[in-house]
């Protein structure tokens, strides 16, 4: 990744961060309750990630701006990790585990949905069955 590409990531990252911060301000989360806002942010980021990787394979600059930039700045893992630990430590074990599983499993489903929406070639080739566990 060149310096110019890193600058593109910075511009996109600023936009994505501002969108995520706007979402947090518009839909604040009470301590101890289910963090719906960040979950929805990450699910949207996952759909966008799959779709954009599929449709922008021939637009490298736009892909750099949007994928590691906007989508990368919008979605987040650190906020999930800290919230999961805090919910667990605060005696909300069920909420904590549900939130973690919803983020990971929901994220996988949304990435696949995005890849399918954009008809990403990764979903086309037959699976090499001899390597599957």
């Amino acid at each position: 990744m060149s310096g110019r590409e890193i600058a593109l990531v910075g511009v996109g990252g600023a936009i994505g961060t501002l969108m995520r911060y706007g979402a947090i301000r518009a839909f604040p989360i009470e301590p101890g309750s289910f963090p719906t806002t960040i979950l929805v942010v990450n699910l949207i980021a996952s759909i966008a990630l799959g779709y954009l990787l599929a449709v922008l394979s021939h637009r490298p600059d736009l892909r750099t701006l949007l994928v590691p930039g906007v989508v990368g700045g919008f979605g987040t893992l650190s906020l999930v990790a800290v919230e999961v630990v805090q919910l667990w430590d605060g005696g909300h074990a069920l909420t904590s585990v549900t939130y973690l599983l919803a983020t990971v499993a929901g994220g996988i489903v949304c990435v696949i949905a995005g890849l399918a929406l954009g008809r990403h070639p990764i979903l086309r080739p037959p699976m090499p069955e001899e390597d599957m566990l």
Binding site: M1, G13, R20, Q86, L133
Partner: protein, 120 residues
Amino acid sequence: MIFVGVTIAGAVGAMSRAAIERWFDHHFGPSDLPVAFYVINPLGAFLLGLATAYAEHATISDDTRLVAGVGFCGAFTVVGPLTFDSVRLFVEGHAGRAGANLALGTLIPLAAAAAGLALG
């Protein structure tokens, strides 16, 4: 006006992520596993844990927590290497590596977040 600080910190976080990714590509070459993110995501989770604990103990202001935590750490870390790369590894026939990526990509950041919260 705190959103300006959060936004700038987000740009710095995203660029730092891209720079570290580039460093890993240079030094370790292209890898099947998103190795750079086994460092990036735990580091961001650790720093956010620290910032969250410091803010709770009033060592730093809530504005500082927002800029450093929601801005920098939020944009520095990403879920994509956990989700997309696991899907990619699976459809490429590497189910074991996909499972390992899911486990490592989840558990290391959680441990790092817990460490940051405990040390802050």
